[in-house]
């Protein structure tokens, strides 16, 4: 799978577009494998029969309007919500059945999941204790997200950008192979967005995988190599970014066309 780059990329295209009927030819070493994933809340179909898989070393943008089902999909992938039907596998297993999940998957779902009265360092230490990760790693991730100087302040005093980076630090504690981020660019200033983009690129260069959701296209377009577009709970596109924009259209133009078509 790591040999021929072009062949690997072709594989990504095909696999991303597979329908649920061709389940057995999905790659065995997919980092994420989602199959017919569906979530129904009473009479609302939040996620409707979504199928995709992610290969190692890819950065995938998960795009769609607010309320399209991005967060619900990620929550099911991460074992926080149960699918109504279908399944979501991470490294071949349901998230809740992973041994030491923090060492394989890092995730940030909300930008403010902190106790305001606890310091940034103690937030990380509590998670490290629970995951059996040595506290020296807490210092490492604080350096990594450039938060070491403010680590002993209570989170109450943090700016939004600092909270975003603290969340990212928590996700990186276990040095994971897969990073899942829900709307990480929300509220970041241009410097923060630039920092995040280059961070994601560096993270994926070592063969690791990123799944990042956003409703902000411009921020995503420069950081990802493939996109999945979700609208009304359904996946309306899943392909490499350069395939999508091959006809000279921008990501935004393609996106708006797909969303409009799906809505009508």
């Amino acid at each position: 799978m790591t040999g021929d780059g072009a062949a690997a990329r072709a594989m990504v295209d095909r696999d991303l577009l597979e329908t649920s009927a061709s389940k057995d030819i999905l790659p065995r070493d997919a980092v994420v494998r989602v199959q017919g994933l569906t979530k129904r809340y009473d009479d609302v179909l939040a996620v409707d029969d979504i199928t995709f898989s992610l290969e190692p070393g890819t950065v995938t943008g998960f795009l769609g309007p607010n309320g399209a089902g991005k967060t619900t999909t990620l929550r099911m992938l991460l074992g926080l919500a149960e699918p109504t039907s279908g399944e979501a596998l991470v490294f071949g297993r349901r998230y809740r059945e992973l041994d030491q999940p923090a060492r394989r998957v890092g995730a940030v779902l909300e930008s403010n999941d902190f106790d305001p009265g606890r310091s940034g360092r103690d937030h990380l230490r509590a998670l490290a204790l629970a995951a059996g990760i040595p506290s020296s790693r807490v210092d490492e991730v604080l350096e990594l997200v450039e938060l070491a100087a403010n680590a002993d302040r209570r989170v109450r005093t943090y700016s939004l950008g600092m909270r975003q980076r603290l969340g990212l630090a928590a996700a990186l504690l276990g040095d994971p192979e897969l990073l899942v981020l829900d709307e990480p660019a929300n509220g970041l200033d241009p410097v923060g967005v630039h920092w995040l983009r280059s961070f994601l690129r560096r993270f994926a260069e070592g063969g690791r995988t990123v799944l990042v959701s956003s409703h902000l296209l411009a921020e995503v377009a420069q950081a990802v190599d493939q996109v999945m577009i979700i609208e009304g709970g359904r996946l309306v596109a899943a392909t490499r970014l350069d395939e999508l924009t091959r006809g000279g259209q921008t990501l935004e133009e393609v996106y708006l066309r797909l969303i409009a078509r799906s809505a009508s």
Partner: protein, 249 residues
């Protein structure tokens, strides 16, 4: 399990919430015990049983109440602040997370209950002596008062975690516990149904019984301990199941 327990104990001591709760409990106990010890008519203190019920038992009662609040906040606080998401991402075995919260809360609540019983014993004794009233408790009474207070608080902390896991929303969970303690069990179950019949089987009454209060109407301390342990186990298990089954927002 040990990693989860260590994480929960660390969470408890890395904010000021627990310390604030502890301080509030001690101030309230001092206030109530001194108020009763200095204010209640001396005729109500003419037996050791009456002294315990009217005066010294406040330590156990308020200790158990604050222990329940501590237990409930260990989970509703995480839900309120959203830290429940990273907590469950790091340890998706949610029943084990709730179990760790139960053990951590019980451990800390034992200290709460011990301090509550000891402060009530000290303040109550001082108040009676100030008025020249003989303190009729013997060493066994004091021991039961303080040890029972610690045991009741530990078990009520487990009940608090279970209630918190089931209710999830912090304000209704805490208000519910307070209302149960101060009104439902005392007024409804106790007075209307009769303390002897139904009331003594209720969990707060069992807590009182463990520390030796009202032995004429309540259960024997050992029976009450077993009964409260059953309540605690049942509610904690129900809470763990609820947390495991329901989606995390």
């Amino acid at each position: 399990m040990t990693a989860a327990l260590r994480a929960e104990l660390f969470k408890q001591r890395s904010t000021r919430t627990g310390l604030g709760l502890f301080g509030a409990m001690l101030v309230l106990i001092l206030f109530v015990v001194l108020l009763h010890g200095l204010g209640v008519d001396a005729g109500n203190f003419d037996s050791s049983s009456k002294q315990i019920s009217v005066l010294f038992g406040w330590g156990e009662y308020l200790g158990a109440l604050f222990a329940a609040l501590l237990g409930a906040m260990s989970i509703t606080g995480e839900i309120r602040h959203g830290t429940i998401r990273p907590t469950f991402l790091v340890n998706p075995r949610r029943q084990r997370v709730v179990a760790a919260k139960v053990w951590a809360s019980m451990l800390i609540a034992t200290g709460f209950g011990f301090a509550a019983g000891a402060v009530a014993a000290g303040a109550g004794t001082a108040a009676l002596r100030t008025r020249g009233i003989n303190v009729l408790l013997d060493a066994g009474d004091y021991t039961l008062l303080i040890a029972g207070s610690a045991a009741a608080a530990a078990l009520w902390a487990a009940i608090g975690v279970g209630v918190g896991a089931i209710v999830r929303n912090q304000v209704p969970a805490l208000v519910g516990i307070v209302v149960w303690f101060l009104f439902v069990e005392n007024l409804l179950v106790g007075d209307l149904a009769g303390v002897g019949a139904v009331g003594r089987l209720m969990p707060a009454a069992a807590g009182k019984a463990i520390s030796g209060q009202n032995p004429e109407t309540l259960l024997a301390p050992t029976v009450a301990l077993a009964l409260l342990a059953l309540y605690a186990a049942a509610i904690a298990v129900a809470g763990a199941r609820a947390a495991s089954r329901r989606d995390v927002a």
